[in-house]
């Protein structure tokens, strides 16, 4: 293999698994260390700069970082990154003095934002700081989009939402047009906006319009996302005692748990597929089960049973999955008797669709076969150069952190467009390297690897939280739990950097490495080299760090997979050929050159 080019910022970026997996590339280990040292405000600000909504995301993020966490590969459970973010948010001081303000002098450019969700709000924040004037349109009474209408208050209190949305709206330069449904994109384009950003979400919940009984039982059958929004805006305050929730995604989990709080005593979730293939996050399923909500699998709906204008129940066919050679699933009936489940109400949470009824054909925005806009995946620019998309409306339903990442990228694109520059000539990430040597064998970072297991987040008593949908279920980590959890972080951003010029090949690092990552070995092709290592490196997603040729003709090969970043290789190195160097990677944002 060729020597690894560690000057390429992407190499070490890849080693910081959590940060790499995060769509917004939040510097996770950095803020976790700050939490450990009780510098909550600083930890919060690092998050705020990167992901805009730390308090919100610390509660309801989809956490792509956690399955990526290295701790998951050496132990059983990843670091509770998401909930540590909440620790920073819960314990921060007043940050108003730290928040930037939009400049008094505007740059004369005006941008329209359609939809007031996380994507648009991110664009607003990034661009207002550069002197742009932004008009934000949303049909709801308050900004926040799906974060407000779809996420129940027992998971995300309104106070937290308002606070973080207001940080943005109060910066200056942003005019909100709430209760304003944009019914014509053409009208917007006809105004003097320099660019338009569409972050209107995927607002249409799928229905079962042709299932027998659908029309007759309409009063008792609701589309999940609309129903959740009605609950938030107090249009729905009660539900029947027996509720069926159809669907296996996170929306279904929110529906069933909300139903439990509005009078639902016998709430069941029905999924078509096997339970192991449900789309909902593991932890959300756990929370539903904790609230005594059973999940029934392999049932496809046959009909709504309506008698005398009242919904009596639903009939389901029993199916089982069959997989063809490509692994494609087919649900085939088992031939058993259909199952009848009695109920008073049904919530349909079987997926969302994009819908752009406000975009007229004459706007010339090209759409693909799935009804999604045709976009440049990097710049998020549509077929009309001044129109950009982000969030769920760009590539279909995703999550908040993806929307935030889209917002950052769209802001960069819009800024480049307004400055008349090439949209593909994007600013570089900001990268720094800082040696961690404090003294002889001592490091600036806390290198000790603890053995503590993942800490449980304390919860409110179940009976109490089921009585009131506004009571937040999770209490968040206390001081002790937060610290113990923060210490579980392996500091993957403190990189092991090797200098072959200094190495005397004494093998000390090989002998000392607890996880047998380091090898001095004859070079070869990657595939066969991976097999020849002391412990074969079979996790191909993880890189091999290969040095140049050493004086004995061998090379140093380090498998990054389960490196604990404990610094013992560097401590045991007599010539400082190994060094522990903290690597920070800050994604580019609008205005960076």
């Amino acid at each position: 293999m060729k020597p690894t080019d560690i000057k390429n910022p992407e190499y070490f970026h890849r080693v910081v698994d959590c940060q790499y997996a995060c769509p917004a590339h939040t510097p996770v280990p950095e803020y976790i260390r700050l939490i450990l040292h009780e510098r909550f405000t600083k930890a919060y600000m690092i998050n705020w700069v990167s992901n805009v909504f730390p308090g919100i995301l610390g509660r309801v993020c989809d956490r792509p970082c956690e399955p990526a966490c290295r701790r998951d590969r050496v132990e059983d459970e990843p670091v509770a990154i998401c909930r540590l973010k909440r620790v920073a948010a819960d314990n921060r001081d007043d940050i108003s003095a730290r928040l930037p303000k939009a400049p008094e002098k505007k740059n004369g450019k005006k941008i329209a934002l359609i939809g007031g969700g996380p994507a648009s709000l991110t664009v607003a924040r990034d661009l207002s700081l550069l002197g742009y004037e932004l008009d934000l349109y949303d049909d709801a009474t308050k900004a926040g989009g799906f974060m407000r209408s779809q996420v129940p208050s027992f998971r995300l209190p309104e106070r937290v939402l308002n606070e973080e949305i207001n940080y943005i709206l109060d910066m200056g330069g942003i005019t909100t047009y709430l209760n304003t449904y944009v019914s014509s994109l053409k009208e917007i384009l006809d105004q003097d906006y320099d660019a338009v950003f569409i972050g209107s979400g995927a607002p249409r919940g799928r229905d079962l319009p042709n299932l027998p009984g659908r029309q007759e039982g309409d009063k008792f059958i609701h589309v999940g996302i609309d129903w959740l929004a009605s609950v938030v805006f107090d249009h729905v305050e009660k539900t029947g005692k027996r509720v069926l929730v159809l669907g296996g995604g996170n929306t279904a989990m929110d529906c069933c748990r909300t139903a439990r709080r509005l009078g639902g005593e016998d709430v069941k979730v029905i999924v078509r597929s096997p339970r192991s293939e449900m789309k909902a996050s593991e932890w959300e399923i756990e929370d539903a089960l904790h609230e005594d909500i059973p999940i029934l699998e392999n049932l496809t709906p046959l009909e709504f049973i309506v008698e005398d204008g009242r919904l009596q129940g639903m009939r389901f066919e029993k199916v089982m999955p069959e997989y063809d050679e490509q692994g494609k699933r087919k649900l085939v009936p088992t031939g058993e008797e259909p199952v009848v489940l009695e109920c008073d109400e049904v919530l349909l949470a079987i997926g969302q669709q994009n819908a752009f009824p406000f975009i007229e054909p004459e706007c010339n925005i090209a759409f693909d076969d799935y009804g999604l806009p045709k976009l440049d995946p990097v710049t998020l620019q549509s077929s009309v150069p001044t129109v950009f998309f982000g969030g769920d409306s760009a590539f279909g339903p995703g999550n908040i952190i993806i929307a935030v990442a889209h917002g950052h990228e769209a802001a960069i694109s819009i800024d480049l467009l307004c400055r008349g520059e090439d949209l593909h000539n994007r600013p570089e990430p900001e990268v720094t390297l800082a040696g961690q040597k404090l003294g002889f064998h001592d490091w600036l970072y806390d290198s000790h690897v603890t053995e503590d297991e993942r800490q449980h987040v304390p919860m409110v008593d179940k009976a109490k939280s089921l009585r009131d949908r506004l009571v937040e279920v999770e209490l968040g980590y206390g001081e002790q739990g937060g610290k113990v959890e923060a210490k579980r972080c392996l500091n993957c951003d403190v990189q092991t950097v090797f200098d072959e010029g200094l190495c005397i090949e004494c093998d000390a690092c090989v002998d000392a490495c607890p996880t047998t990552c380091i090898n001095f070995i004859e070079n070869g092709e990657e595939e066969e080299l991976r097999e020849r290592l002391l412990v074969p490196a079979r996790n191909k997603e993880q890189s091999l760090y290969v040095s140049d040729i050493l004086s004995t003709g061998r090379v140093m090969v380090k498998d990054e997979n389960v490196c604990l970043h404990c610094g013992i290789c560097a401590e045991r190195c007599p010539t400082a050929a190994w060094e522990m160097i903290k690597y920070t990677y800050k994604s580019a944002k609008a205005g960076d050159r």
């Binding site: 590969r73 050496v74 132990e75 002889f440 064998h441 001592d442 290198s447 000790h448 690897v449 053995e451 005397i504 090949e505 004494c506 093998d507 000390a508 090989v510 002998d511 000392a512 607890p514 996880t515 047998t516 990552c517 412990v535 074969p536 079979r538 004086s551 004995t552 389960v562 604990l564 404990c566 610094g567 013992i568 401590e571 045991r572 190195c573 007599p574 010539t575």
Partner: protein
């Protein structure tokens, strides 16, 4: 500074026949200087016992005093251990071995502990052919007391900031051959590829298996002018016939080409195959072994590998015809058979 090693190990770490991973053979984290050759020897000892699937509780590790003699703390944390008086490891090993011949005895010593203060003990344990592995971690200096030249420092060699050594050095391998050891080998801590099978063969050998391992002292004796430095040893290392070690348990699949390799069966049925080289005689002949050591020295070379081997050796127990049963398993009746037996025995000697 790390005082403990993280407990996490590679989740795909191999297991041996007993179902243990290498972790079961590890000890505490090393407190020697970073880069010390001894750490590599420790690592090879761990790997050798792990790969040979020897139960840790069947091993006794013994040492004297010195940097080398600290190392039993860093390997085989679940074995028996005895850290004895300076240079007196062989006596303790002899006593223990007499009491229980069922265990594997691994003595670890240094050049000071063996070639100076413990020379007398070394000489006698070798000539008694005690069944043990005697490892000398040889760095040519007294590292623990700031690097004074030791008795194995070669004449003319120069340590960091030191003057050239003015005395003749003691070649422990040559001495061991002369004193009657039947397994004598020399390794280098920087060459695990050779050291590991060498240690395995030493463990399999019955009788005294003497292994001298050149182990650079990175702090005091690693100047390029020192004959015990990483760079000097790498430049001047010459292997005897290179060899493979095939433990008894392993099925022998390779056909020996008698022209190039010579199999030597050890007492326990394991086999060492020596790759014969054109200019080297196979070293089962004492005289040749000493000759080649002297020849290499004259050429400024360090001869490594298995230097002398007599697979048919008789150990101390054989010579003394002692009981096969460990003493702790003998009953009082067997140990004190009574006056009658004693009288009969005394009578037989008259």
């Amino acid at each position: 500074m790390s005082y403990v090693r993280p407990t996490f190990r590679h989740p795909d770490a191999q297991k041996n026949k007993l179902g243990y991973t290498r972790k079961a053979y590890e000890g505490a984290i090393s407190t020697l200087c970073a880069g010390c050759g001894h750490d590599s020897i420790v690592s090879s000892i761990i790997t050798a016992f792990f790969e040979m699937s020897i139960e840790p509780h069947k091993v006794v590790k013994l040492s004297g005093i010195g940097c080398s003699s600290k190392t039993p703390a860093y390997f085989l944390g679940r074995s028996h251990g005895f850290n004895s008086v300076h240079g007196r490891m062989p006596s303790v090993a002899t006593g223990a071995n007499m009491a229980n011949k069922d265990l594997v005895y691994l003595g670890v010593s240094g050049d000071g502990d063996t070639a100076s203060i413990g020379m007398g003990q070394f000489a006698h344990v070798v000539r008694r052919n005690l069944n043990m592995i005697y490892v000398v971690m040889n760095n040519g200096c007294y590292g623990l007391t700031k690097g004074q030249d030791s008795a194995t420092a070669d004449k003319g060699s120069k340590s960091r900031k030191g003057a050239p050594v003015s005395f003749e050095s003691i070649d422990l391998c040559e001495l061991a051959i002369l004193l009657g050891a039947d397994f004598v080998a020399r390794g280098f801590s920087g060459d695990k590829k050779q050291l590991l099978p060498m240690l395995k063969a030493a463990i399999s050998h019955k009788g005294m298996a003497f292994v001298d391992v050149i182990s650079p002292c990175v702090t005091f004796n690693n100047a390029p002018t020192s004959t015990k430095s990483y760079s000097w040893v790498r430049d001047h290392m010459e292997a005897t016939a290179t060899f493979d070690f095939i433990p008894l348990q392993q099925e022998i699949l390779t056909e020996y080409d008698h022209g190039t390799t010579i199999p030597v069966a050890l007492h326990d049925g394991s086999i060492i195959t020596l790759y014969k080289r054109e200019d080297k005689e196979i070293l089962t002949n004492k005289k040749d072994a000493i000759n080649s050591l002297e020849e290499a020295k004259a050429e400024d070379q360090i001869l490594t590998g298995i230097l002398y081997l007599n697979p048919d050796s008789e150990d101390f127990h054989d010579i003394n015809q002692t009981t096969d049963t460990p003493l702790n398993q003998l009953t009082e009746e067997e140990l004190c058979p009574g006056n009658e037996v004693l009288q009969a025995f005394n009578e037989s000697l008259r």
